[in-house]
C-alpha cells in the first residue's frame, strides 16, 4: 500500500514493461531480437540436420583438392591439377574483368546516350529514345543470348581464313581477326628497354597532374588561365614517344596468325566474354542514360541562363555549372546500376563464360556436390564486391553531394577528439565555409598515404589468393582460424582506410587507427609476414608496417596538415 502511495520510491513491477512507455520500446526490441535469433538458430539447425540426414558434412576441405577440370580464360596460372580454390580465384578474376570493363563501357554509353537524348537535333534525340526504350524493356538474358548467337552464326570459323580460296579475311590490314570463337587483336610485346618507356609514361603522368594543380592555383591567384589539357596531353604523349625513340623502339606488336586449328598470337577475346560484356554494358548503359538525362534536367534552367548572363561559354557552363550539380542527382542511382551490372554478370553461365558462377558455383559444385559450401562462398564474394562498390560510390557521393552551409561535417565520436589536448582545439568546418578554400593544397602527403594502403592491400590480396600454394604457403582454407580471421580483417580495414583516404573522408583517422589495431592483432596471432614480400624478413615488414601506420596517424592528428583537406577542421585562432 505504501509503495503505491510513494511514487518516488524505486518500485518496478513486471507489467511496467509493456504498460510504461519508459520501458516499452526497449522491451519490444529485446523480444524482437530474441525472436530473430531463435529463427536464425532454427534455420541453421535445420540446414545442418538435413545435411546430416542426407549423410553430408559441412566443410571446406574440398577446396584444397585438385579441381581436375580446365578453364579456358585464366588470368593467373591454372591447370587441371590446381586446387578448387585456385579455380574459384580464376572465376572471380573473370567476373571482375566483366564487371569492371562492363561498368566503364556502360558509363560511356550511358553518358553519351543521356546527353544525346537531350540534343536539339531531332533525329539524334529520337534515335537515343529508341535505343533506351528498346534495350531497357527486353530482358538482359535474351540480349546476351542474342549477341552470342550473332557471334556464333554470323562470323566465319577460323578455317574460312585458310588457303587460297579463303572466304573470310582479317580486318585493319591483317591485324584483327573476327571468328565465331572470338576476336584476335594485336598484342604489344615488351622488349628490353620498354621498362623505361613505361616509367617515363608514369612520371610524365604524375607531372601532368601536378602541372594541372599548379595551373589551377596560379589561376586562382592571378586569374590567368592556361590551356591545361593540351599541354598535359602533349607533354605525356610527346615525352613518352621521345623516350620510346631514344630507347630504340622497344615495344612492337604481335599479330595474330592462323596456325593449326586456331589463330595464334595476339590477344584472344572470347565470344562468350564479348557477348556478355557488350550485352550487359549496352543494357545497363540505357538505364544510366536515363539517370544522366534526369540529372541534367534536374538543374534549373535559371542556372544556365545566369551562367550565360555572366558571359560563360556553353562548354564552360556545362563543366562548371551544370555537371557539378547534375552529378549529385546522377551518382546515387549510378551506384545501383553498377551493382546491377556486377550481379547480372552471373548470367555468364548462359554463354559458357567461366566466371565465378561457372567455376566455383558451377563445375566445382557439380563435381564435388558441395552445394552449401560453394554457394556460401559465392554469395560471400558477391556480397563483398557489392558492398565495396557501394562503399566507394557512397564516399564519392559524399564528396559531390549538395553543399549546404548548415550541414556541418559533424560525426559523433572520432578518435581525434582524444587528442584535443595535444593538438589544440579544432573547429569543425561547415562544408562550403570560406576557410576551407585555402586548404585545398596541391601536393599532398595524402598521395603517399594512398600509395601505402594500396600497396599493402595488393600485397595481401596477392599473397592470400594468388600466390602459388606450397608447403610454406598452404591454401587459405588450410590456415588456422585466427590467421583466416586476421586476414579478412586486414583486407577489410586496408580497403576502407584506403577508400576514405582516397575520397578525403573525415572518418579516415578512425579507420587508420582501427587498421593499426588489426595489424597488431595479426602480428599477435603469428601471421606470416615474412612470406609477404620475397627477400624481406618478417620483423622488417612488421616494423615498417607499424612505423608507417603510426607516422600516418601521428601526422593526421597533430600535423599542421595544410593539405589534409579531408579533415575539414582548422585550428581555432
Amino acid at each position: 500500500m505504501s509503495d503505491t502511495a510513494q511514487p518516488s520510491g524505486p518500485s518496478f513491477r513486471i507489467d511496467m514493461l509493456w504498460n510504461d512507455s519508459r520501458y516499452r520500446s526497449t522491451f519490444i526490441q529485446i523480444v524482437a531480437l530474441v525472436l530473430v535469433i531463435l529463427a536464425v538458430m532454427y534455420l541453421f539447425q535445420n540446414v545442418v540436420e538435413n545435411l546430416a540426414a542426407l549423410g553430408k558434412t559441412f566443410g571446406f576441405d574440398f577446396m584444397t583438392q585438385p579441381a581436375s577440370y580446365d578453364i579456358n580464360q585464366r588470368l593467373i596460372e591454372y591447370n587441371s591439377r590446381s586446387t578448387h580454390s585456385t579455380a574459384a580465384v580464376v572465376g572471380i578474376l573473370n567476373t571482375l574483368v566483366v564487371a569492371i570493363v562492363g561498368c566503364v563501357l556502360a558509363t560511356i554509353f550511358g553518358v553519351l546516350a543521356g546527353v544525346a537524348r537531350l540534343s536539339k537535333n531531332w533525329i539524334i534525340a529520337r534515335l537515343m529514345t529508341v535505343y533506351i526504350e528498346g534495350v531497357r524493356n527486353v530482358p538482359v538474358l535474351i540480349q546476351i543470348l542474342l549477341f552470342a548467337a550473332i557471334f556464333d552464326e554470323a562470323l566465319p570459323a577460323p578455317s574460312a581464313f585458310r588457303g587460297e580460296d579463303a572466304t573470310a579475311s582479317m580486318w585493319l590490314g591483317d591485324s584483327v581477326a573476327a571468328t565465331n570463337r572470338g576476336f584476335y587483336f594485336p598484342m604489344p610485346v615488351w622488349l628490353e628497354g620498354s621498362f623505361w618507356v613505361v616509367v617515363a609514361f608514369f612520371v610524365l603522368l604524375v607531372g601532368a597532374v601536378w602541372f594541372g594543380r599548379w595551373a589551377k592555383e596560379r589561376q586562382q591567384a592571378t586569374g590567368e588561365a592556361l590551356p591545361v589539357l593540351p599541354i598535359q596531353a602533349g607533354g605525356v604523349i610527346i615525352g613518352t614517344f621521345l623516350v620510346f625513340l631514344v630507347m630504340g623502339m622497344p615495344i612492337t606488336l604481335d599479330f595474330p596468325a592462323l596456325k593449326g586449328f586456331n589463330f595464334q598470337g595476339g590477344i584472344y577475346v572470347r565470344n562468350s566474354y564479348m557477348a556478355l560484356t557488350l550485352a550487359l554494358s549496352i543494357y545497363t548503359g540505357a538505364f544510366i542514360a536515363e539517370n544522366v538525362r534526369a540529372g541534367i534536367q534536374a538543374v534549373s534552367k535559371g542556372q544556365t541562363e545566369a551562367a550565360f548572363a555572366l558571359g560563360l561559354r556553353p562548354n564552360r557552363t556545362m563543366n562548371l555549372v551544370i555537371l557539378p550539380q547534375a552529378l549529385r542527382v546522377i551518382i546515387p542511382p549510378l551506384i545501383s546500376q553498377y551493382l546491377n551490372l556486377t550481379k547480372n554478370s552471373s548470367l555468364a553461365l548462359l554463354v559458357g563464360y567461366m566466371d565465378v558462377t561457372g567455376t566455383l558455383m558451377g563445375i566445382t559444385l557439380n563435381q564435388t556436390g558441395k552445394e552449401f559450401e560453394t554457394l556460401f562462398l559465392g554469395m560471400a564474394f558477391y556480397l563483398a564486391v557489392s558492398l565495396s562498390v557501394a562503399a566507394i560510390m557512397n564516399l564519392y557521393n559524399e564528396q559531390v553531394k549538395l553543399v549546404e552551409r548548415t550541414s556541418a561535417v559533424g560525426m559523433g565520436f572520432s578518435v581525434i577528439d582524444l587528442f584535443s589536448s595535444v593538438s589544440g582545439k579544432w573547429e569543425v568546418l561547415k562544408k562550403g565555409d570560406a576557410k576551407m578554400q585555402p586548404l585545398y593544397g596541391i601536393r599532398g602527403l595524402l598521395n603517399l598515404f594512398v600509395i601505402f594502403y594500396a600497396v599493402s592491400l595488393l600485397l595481401l590480396l596477392d599473397y592470400t589468393f594468388l600466390a602459388e600454394i606450397t608447403e610454406t604457403r598452404p591454401s587459405y582454407f588450410d590456415w588456422p582460424g585466427g590467421k583466416q580471421i586476421a586476414t579478412l580483417l586486414m583486407l577489410l580495414t586496408l580497403f576502407s582506410t584506403l577508400a576514405t583516404c582516397l575520397f578525403k573522408n573525415p572518418r579516415f583517422i578512425d579507420l587508420a587507427v582501427f587498421d593499426l589495431l588489426v595489424f597488431i592483432f595479426a602480428v599477435a596471432v603469428g601471421w606470416p609476414f615474412g612470406q609477404l614480400v620475397e627477400g624481406v624478413s618478417g620483423p622488417v615488414i612488421v616494423l615498417v608496417g607499424i612505423a608507417a601506420r603510426l607516422a600516418i596517424i601521428g601526422y593526421t592528428i597533430v600535423g599542421e596538415r595544410p593539405n589534409l583537406t579531408f579533415f575539414h577542421r582548422v585550428r581555432r585562432a
Binding site: L38, M41, Y42, Q45, N46, E49, N50, A53, L54, G55, K56, S68, Y69, D70, I71, N72, N79, S80, R81, D152, E153, A157, P158, S159, A160, N180, R181, K259, G260, F261, N262, Q264, N271, G352, M354, G358, G362, I363, N366, Q367, T368, G369, E371
Partner: protein, 339 residues
Amino acid sequence: MKTSVFLGALAAASLTAGLAGAATLDDVKAKGFVQCGVATGVPGFAFTDASGEWDGFDATMCRAVAAAIFGDPKAIKFTPTTGKTRFTALASGEVDLLFRNTTWTLSRDTDLKLDFVGVNYYDGQGFMVPKALGVSSAKELDGATVCIQTGTTTELNLADFFRANNISYEPVPIETNAEATQKYLAGACDVYTTDASGLAATRSTFEAPADHVILPEIISKEPLGPAVRHGDSEWADVVRWTLNALIAAEELGVNSGNVEQLGSAATDNPELNRLLGTEGEYGAMLGLPKDWAVNVIKSTGNYGEIFDRTIGPDTQIGLARGLNALWTQGGILYTPPFR
C-alpha cells in the same frame, strides 16, 4: 526451458521431414506414377517423338520400371535434366530415379549420395571431328577448340587426356547436347567430345553424317546406369531388378512376343518361372505384383529388343552391341541369378 522444448520440437520436426522421403516405392505407389530424370534430348537415348511422347533407350528403361510397379508403362512422368541439374533433381526428390547417360563413379556413388544400381550401357568417351580437318587420331588435336558438356565426367577425362599427352586445347563449356551440336556444326569448335554412344547418336541427326568421323581413341570407361537416392535400398532393389529382368529375359529367350504365353503357366525351366512369377514369391519380395516381369517385357521387350529398336545396327544411330552383348555372346552383360 520453454525455448529448449520449442527448439527440440522444431529439431524433431525437421529431422522427420528429412527422413520422410526415404520410402520412395511407397511414395511412387501413392502418387500413381514414376518420376524419371532423363537427358534433355539425345537421339536414340531420350528424346520426344513426333507425337510428343518420350522414347529412346533410356526412356524405355524408365517405362520398364513403371510397368514393373503399375503394369503400365505410361504411369510415368519424364523430367529433362542437364549434366548439371541431374543430381540436384534426384537429391531434392524432384525425380525418383535417373536414367540419363550417367557414368557410375566412386565419388558419385558415395560423396554425391547416389546409389547406382547397375549398368545399362557400357560406354567410353570419344571424339568427333569434321572429316575435312583431316585428323585421324586424337593425339593430333593440339590447339583445337573442344566442345564439352559441363558437370560431366567428360570434362574431367578430357583434362586428363590432354595433360597426359602434353598437348593443349581450348575447352568450350556447354550445357546441353543440342547446344553443343549447334556450336559444333557452326564450326565454333573443332571437336565434340562425349560418350561414344552419344556421339554416334548425335551424328545420326546431321544432314551429312558421313562428313564427320569418330576418332579411334576411346579415352575412358563410362559405365552408364540408372541411379537412385542413397539410403533407400527397397527402391534401389526395384530399379536394379527391373534392369536385371530385361537382361535375364534376353538370356532366357523371353521377348515381348512370347512372354504372355510363357508367363501364363509354369514351364519346365525353373529360372524362367521365377522370373515370370509362375513360381515362388519373388515379386512380393520386391514389393511388386507377382507378374511384374511379364508386365515389363510385354510393354518394353527385353534388353536386346530395346537396344535394337532404339540404337541398334538397324536404326539410324547404328550402334553395334559390342561390350553390351550378353556374356554368352562375347559381351559383358551379365545378370545375377533370379533365385
